[in-house]
């Protein structure tokens, strides 16, 4: 075995290496999920893509090749421990250079989703504006969070209705979205506020913003975790769509079906 042969992480334990979903019309779409050394929700993001009907592969932060994936998810976690500033080191990973340039292209730019730490990485990489600071109450917070989809026109939200509400888990320490007023006004004016917290702002984020997009709508970042509301029995106890069973909420699935359907055309 050589170092080169180890470029993609081996996934041990009970989790599936995951990937294809034979019956789905969407399985021709392959989503790459980036693993940094401190990524935590990478396998969960792979599972979410699979449950949405697509195919998923793991991408290693140290690689220089996007392996022809059709879209990329930067998952939650603490990419390099985040002792400096969340995402500050990750943006310099070799794979991030590839992602940044592919996501910045024109009409067929690469769709990229940053969840939690992934959102932080995207702001550090300047694919998205603003920044995340420590929650205003200074604690880590894990709770089921209600959001409103403010823009159903992005690559990652087209399967939702405009203004639709969803419930997905939120869990972070540095989740307070901040930006200067001009940037905030710009985001609002251009319809780039994609998700907004409703029923209580959990971290002091400016204007209750939970997620935003770039101007083209291919790059989206959000703090809450849609990949933890995709499988009945393992999601939140509630859904914005009405009564569900215990941990039956699957409101996050739409994020993943959105991009898959969009890419299939």
């Amino acid at each position: 075995m050589t170092a080169a042969g180890l470029e993609t992480p081996l996934i041990g334990g009970p989790q599936p290496v995951a990937s294809t979903n034979g019956d789905s019309p969407l399985n021709g779409v392959t989503v790459g999920v980036v693993t940094f050394p401190g990524s935590l929700d990478d396998r969960d993001a792979v599972r979410a893509v699979r449950l949405a009907g697509g195919s998923a592969i793991h991408l290693w932060h140290g690689d220089h090749d996007l392996r022809n994936v059709d879209a990329v998810i930067i998952p939650g976690g603490f990419s390099y421990g985040d002792y400096l500033r969340a995402g500050a080191i990750s943006r310099f990973a070799p794979l991030m250079e590839q992602i940044t340039s592919a996501a910045s292209g024109g009409a067929d730019a690469l769709p990229v989703l940053g969840i939690c730490n992934g959102f932080q990485v995207l702001t550090e990489a300047h694919l998205l504006p603003g920044s995340m600071i420590k929650n205003n109450h200074l604690h880590f917070i894990c709770r089921d969070q209600r959001l409103r989809v403010e823009n159903a026109g992005t690559f990652w939200t087209s399967d939702y209705g405009q203004g639709e509400e969803i419930v997905i888990p939120l869990k972070n320490q540095d989740g307070q979205f901040v930006a200067d007023n001009r940037t905030l006004d710009e985001l609002e004016g251009e319809g780039r506020v994609v998700f907004r917290y409703v029923d209580g702002n959990p971290n002091g984020s400016r204007r209750d913003i939970a997620g935003i997009s770039n101007a083209a709508g291919n790059v989206v970042g959000l703090m809450p975790h849609p990949e933890h509301a995709v499988e009945a029995g393992f999601g939140p106890d509630s859904s914005a769509r009405g009564e569900v069973g215990v941990r039956g909420g699957t409101d996050g699935l739409g994020i993943f079906t959105s991009v898959l359907k969009k890419l299939v055309g």
């Binding site: 075995m1 050589t2 334990g13 050394p37 390099y80 880590f140």
Partner: protein, 761 residues
């Protein structure tokens, strides 16, 4: 390292020790007793070197050697029957026990204490407690899949409590969340007996395939020994010996430097890197570095394998180059592992380290000489039989006797006047420090990561899926009641096991195995020692009666400040198995019209109860335990889950039926109409007793109308008492105990959820 380095110290070599027999050594400062030091001299046939003294002092500490508890702990092995061994793949003695859960899957789990460090330095103490137990799980070859933390603090309104609560909860969250491990349960208890000695116990669970089990031994002469992970620093020196194995005493200097400092990112990388090592089969034996650091890892690996090891200590990568050999051997720097690798696998090992950017250094090799030789720049500083360090430490038969005060305490049953305003009493109970919502704590823990959490707090047990294809999974619950154990340590231990067992069964899982963390005062106090002896006897007996073996655990002694010891607090964790976690039972009801049944009988048992605690009373005898009834109840609850006969279930324990009904209503915010008259008449009790007694072997279940006949038939067939006490009512947002009170859910929730934010905001 070069000769230049060694010149910086006046190295006490073996040759020097032989030449200077009369030289005084600081054995007392390192925590050794005079007779123990003499034994070291006898074993070696000379005085120990400074490095050898460091090793013996930490490895013979109470924390590492179990010298006071060993003679009692043997019962856990002796009282295990063949039937109980059926599911055991690895028993007591390894880093953690391993249990077969079917389909080729196995689970390893263990609970440990990090009490002393967490009092001295709450954030780091609690954080490294999580780190240490997780490394134990990895060492077995398993991927960690969940953690939980049973915590006990002093009085909620004591000025020092907030410091500990904030630091400890943030430390557990800060470390565990960064590892990507869902925190699925635990306990938070407040009692002034824990004021100077908070209990921070940490449990971790891991899963693995049968063929992946790894053990801590160094076999095969010529195999290489490698240390990898974080660098070795000056933190945690004496953590096991002078910190964890002594009582607190305000006259001594701060023990803060003896607390380790954690780096969760390093641990997360270490987890992934170890799992990759296992998958590639490049390590022969592996051992995590926790208490006693390199002293423990080298001596345990060597004595569990071919018996010899040769190590060059200057090869250890250091954070602080000024550390002496003795300090390097004693350092408890976190996030380190030691492994044994065949020469043929060295290149593959290094490739995996490089991929994860983990630092490593080759320290030496396995030998068949039966000696552990440690050199410093080629000069021999340790030459010992590793078994004398790791396994043949002192064993004490500490004197013990039943405290004379106990008769008086047991005779003083709870006889205070019972309140007539039951509504106010329920609100007071549900807002009290021990019964209030723990959301403020658990919301600081990630319960979602890994995507397999099927139940977490506030449900009776934490449940995680192991196999995504089949739904195979496990349930875990930890419980202890220090007040019960204070009143009667034998029964207290059995009651703790019964509650954890009942919790696991209430969630629908078949209880399979036990881990325990025995938290006590000083073993040098004969009364504490008696409590300990009674606890172990009770727990071993109850395990045998319930047919669930203890697979591993931890003893934490010296939880004592001055002459004040904590209540004996045996924290018992029970692991159960699900063929499919989809059938787990949540701890609340939600469907309108479902029937609410109470399983079991209620007697007037308020001694040691939460209600008595609220009235400042502790006396009498804990509730009577009937393990045969517990077994039947568990079988009913598991069958109900399997056959879809119930939609919600909650065991009754602290706070009795009042707490059980309140929590079931709060779980999904759905009310119920409850009638107590029939129950009171059947059991010959008043309404207050019905609500607040803590009689055992009871649970409340919500039964769909269509299942009532089947449910009743099953209870009748098993001759288990059951009574219909009410009906779920989604219309009225209230817990309506007819004839006594009507408590709107909102009001109940406000009382229940307001307490912790009020104190810790």
């Amino acid at each position: 390292m070069t000769a230049e380095t060694s010149r910086r110290f006046n190295i006490d070599t073996v040759a020097n020790a032989e030449a200077t027999p009369g030289q005084a050594l600081p054995w007392a400062e390192l925590g050794l007793k005079e007779n123990e030091y003499q034994r070291v001299e006898e074993i070696l046939g000379r005085r120990p070197t400074g490095a050898e003294l460091a090793m013996y002092s930490v490895m013979w500490s109470e924390h590492c050697s179990y010298k006071s508890s060993k003679v009692h702990l043997r019962q856990f092995g002796e009282k295990v029957t063949d039937a109980m061994k059926e599911h055991l793949l690895v028993g007591i003695g390894e880093n953690a026990g391993v249990v077969d859960i079917g389909d080729g899957w196995a689970v390893t789990f263990k609970v440990e204490s990090h009490n002393h460090p967490s009092f001295v330095e709450p954030y780091q103490g609690a954080a490294t407690g999580v780190g240490g137990i997780v490394r134990d799980i990895i060492s077995m070859g398993a991927r960690p899949v969940a953690v939980m933390d049973p915590l006990r603090f002093g009085a909620i309104d004591h000025p020092d409590t907030a410091r500990l609560v904030h630091g400890i909860v943030a430390g557990i969250g800060g470390y565990g969340n960064s590892l990507g491990l869902p925190n699925i349960g635990g306990e938070v208890v407040f009692d002034s007996v824990y004021q100077g000695n908070p209990l921070v116990n940490a449990l971790a669970v891991g899963v693995l395939r049968h063929e992946d089990i790894r053990l801590a031994n160094a076999s095969g002469a010529g195999n290489r020994v490698v240390l990898f992970g974080a660098r070795t620093g000056g933190d945690g020196i004496g953590g096991a010996s002078v910190l964890a194995s002594e009582s607190f005493d305000s006259s001594k200097p701060s023990k803060r430097p003896a607390v380790q400092v954690g780096d969760p990112f390093a641990e997360k990388v270490l987890i992934e890197c170890c799992l990759e090592l296992f998958k590639a089969s490049v390590v022969e034996g592996i051992q995590d570095l926790g208490a006693a650091g390199i002293s423990c890892a080298t001596s345990e690996l060597a004595s569990n394998g071919d018996g010899g090891m040769h190590v060059e200590l200057t090869n250890v990568l250091l954070r602080d180059p000024s550390l002496t050999p003795g300090e390097i051997l004693m350092s408890e720097s976190q996030e380190r592992m030691m492994a044994v690798v065949t020469p043929g696998n060295v290149a593959d090992f290094e490739a995996i380290m490089d991929k994860w950017a983990v630092e490593y250094s080759w320290l030496g090799e396995v030998t068949d000489t039966g000696r552990l030789i440690i050199e410093w720049d080629g000069e021999k500083i340790v030459d010992v039989d590793p078994r004398t360090v790791a396994h043949e430490g002192p064993v004490y038969e500490r004197p013990y006797h039943r405290p004379e005060w106990l008769d008086g305490v047991q005779a003083n049953g709870f006889a205070a006047e019972r309140p007539t305003d039951l509504r106010a009493a329920v609100l007071e109970l549900m807002a009290s420090p021990n019964m209030c919502s723990k959301d403020w704590v658990t919301d600081q823990y990630d319960r979602y990561v890994q995507g397999n959490t099927a139940l977490a707090m506030p449900d009776d047990a934490g449940v995680v899926r192991v196999d995504e294809e089949t739904g195979l999974g496990v349930a875990i619950s930890t419980d202890a009641n220090g007040r019960y154990s204070y009143l009667n340590p034998y029964e207290g231990a059995r009651l703790a096991l019964a509650e954890a067992y009942r919790n696991v069964a209430t969630s629908g899982a078949e209880p399979l195995a036990v881990t325990d963390c025995l938290n006590f005062g000083s073993p040098e106090d004969p009364e504490v020692m008696w409590q300990f002896a009674e606890t172990v006897r009770g727990l071993a007996d109850a395990c045998q009666e319930l047919g669930v073996p203890v697979t591993g655990g931890n003893v934490s002694l010296y939880n004592q400040t001055g002459g004040i010891a904590i209540h004996p607090t045996p924290v018992v964790g029970v692991l159960g198995v699900f063929d499919d976690v989809a059938r787990r039972t949540p701890s609340g009801w939600r469907e309108d019209g479902q029937a609410v049944y109470l399983l079991g009988t209620t007697a007037d048992e308020l001694d040691g109860s939460e209600w008595a605690n609220l009235r400042g009373h502790l006396g009498g005898q804990p509730p009577v335990l009937d393990l045969a009834a517990e077994k039947t109840l568990a079988a009913i609850l598991v069958n109900c889950s399997r056959d879809g006969m119930i939609d919600g279930a909650h065991d009754l324990s602290e706070g009795g039926l009042a707490a059980g009904l309140s929590e079931m209503a709060l779980r999904f915010g759905v009310g119920a109409r409850i009638g107590l008259d029939e129950l009171c008449e059947r059991d010959g009790i008043d309404a207050f007793t019905a609500l607040f007694s803590e009689s055992q072997a009871r649970a409340v279940v919500a039964v769909p109308r269509s299942e009532e006949v089947r449910f009743n038939d099953m209870c009748t067939a098993r001759n288990f008492p059951t009574i219909r006490i009410g009906v779920v009512d989604t219309e009225n947002q209230a817990l309506d105990v007819q004839g006594y009170f009507n408590l709107p859910i909102d009001q109940l929730r406000e009382a229940h959820e307001g307490t912790l934010p009020k104190y810790f905001g």
